[in-house]
């Protein structure tokens, strides 16, 4: 994901220290991979070079972790432009699941394919159950729920596609054998 834009977004609320930014990132995006400090400073450096952020107040001796960064006007414009742009629906399908299902249906023997599909569905349902429980927990934050919804939605879409593909393949086979 675009770390630079996330940091800009976090700074839009006010100046923050470097270590603060890492913590905020991990809190707000709990399902994402945690950000490494090195990555934070590297990104901040790039942003500063591009004039999108600037150092705010030098705290004591200085050093990156003690430096407070704030967003510039160009930074705000850049953020606005990014937020206004629509994500192009991905033209290419790149998914391990997709490849495996296709291969299972077309290349593997019937029993093997069925075993794989049953197992895959069970795994999907299990994960969906976990996610549902997590988001229903009393202490869940909005970020938790939103992230869980996203994952559940995609898992649901996978399952639907799985079911439809099986039906199509079955129809095809009927056509071929009849």
């Amino acid at each position: 994901m675009s770390t630079a834009h996330v940091l800009l977004g976090l700074l839009a609320g006010g100046p923050r220290h470097g270590y603060d930014l890492k913590r905020a990132h991990d809190d707000r995006l709990p399902r994402a991979k945690p950000l490494a400090y090195g990555q934070v400073y590297a990104t901040l450096g790039r942003l500063e070079r591009d004039g999108l952020v600037t150092e705010a107040v030098q705290d004591r001796e200085g050093g990156p972790d003690r430096t407070s960064y704030e967003i510039t006007d160009e930074g705000r414009d850049h953020l606005d432009t990014w937020l206004s742009a629509v994500e192009p629906p991905a033209p290419y399908v790149a998914s391990e699941l997709f490849s495996k299902v296709v291969v299972a249906l077309l290349a593997a023997d019937a029993g093997r394919a069925r075993d794989y599909l049953v197992a895959q569905r069970a795994a999907h349902m299990g994960r969906m159950r976990e996610l549902t429980t997590e988001k229903s927990e009393p202490g869940a934050s909005v970020g938790d729920v939103v992230a869980a919804d996203y994952a559940i939605g995609h898992l649901d879409a996978d399952l639907r596609w799985l079911q439809t593909t099986l039906a199509r393949v079955a129809d095809l086979q009927k056509e071929v054998t009849s």
Binding site: L105, A110, A113, R114, L117, V118, R121, A122, H124, M125, M128, R129, L131, T132, S136, I152, G153, L155, D156, L159, R160, L162, Q163, L166, A167, V169, A170, Q173, K174
Partner: protein, 229 residues
Amino acid sequence: MSALLSGTGLIRNYGATPALRGIDLEVGAGEIVAVTGPSGCGKSTLLHCLAGILRVDDGTVTYRDQDIGLWSEAARSRLRRTEFGVLFQFGQLVPELTAVENVALPLLLAGTGRREARQTALDWLDRLGVADSAEQRPGTMSGGEQQRCATARALVTVPRVLFADEPTGALDVLTGEQVLGQIVRVAREQGTAVVLVTHEASVAAYADREIALLDGAVDPTGLGLGVTL
């Protein structure tokens, strides 16, 4: 420990068409079981048979170690106002009664006093977030409010078993979550067993386990197709 509610070898036909072809299922206290499958697979029929609304043609439905198939229609009706709660997708509320009267109805039928029944009903309406519509008739409420009202009615008797048939089918996602959340809460806190019929995987994900049906029989694969690959 035997299950709270179980069905063994359930068979049910509609005229010449078989709807259930020998189904075994068990639900324990506090457990949420999802019954899934494509439309026409017999999920609703199974629910109606387990709740004692329909009689099975063969097989036994056992509730607390009693065969409710042997009970009279009147006795099975009384279950619905004491120990069973039913929540359907549509058409449960009495249009000519107000919301609070609808929710209090099972209690009133069971002989509870009016004031007490009304208070309990208001409590449950509040828990479902529709206390403001208490004196309105269902016709003047939105679909989401109606369904929450129906949920309150299903839960007002603190049932031991809740039968829910596509309870969120006509609802938007957030209202549906509220209803499902309430169902999960009663299962966890009050030990209510839940039989949840749905064709959506995201709703089935609220359950502890899933039983998939296909053409009136249990489908162990859950893939929803009877065809061979």
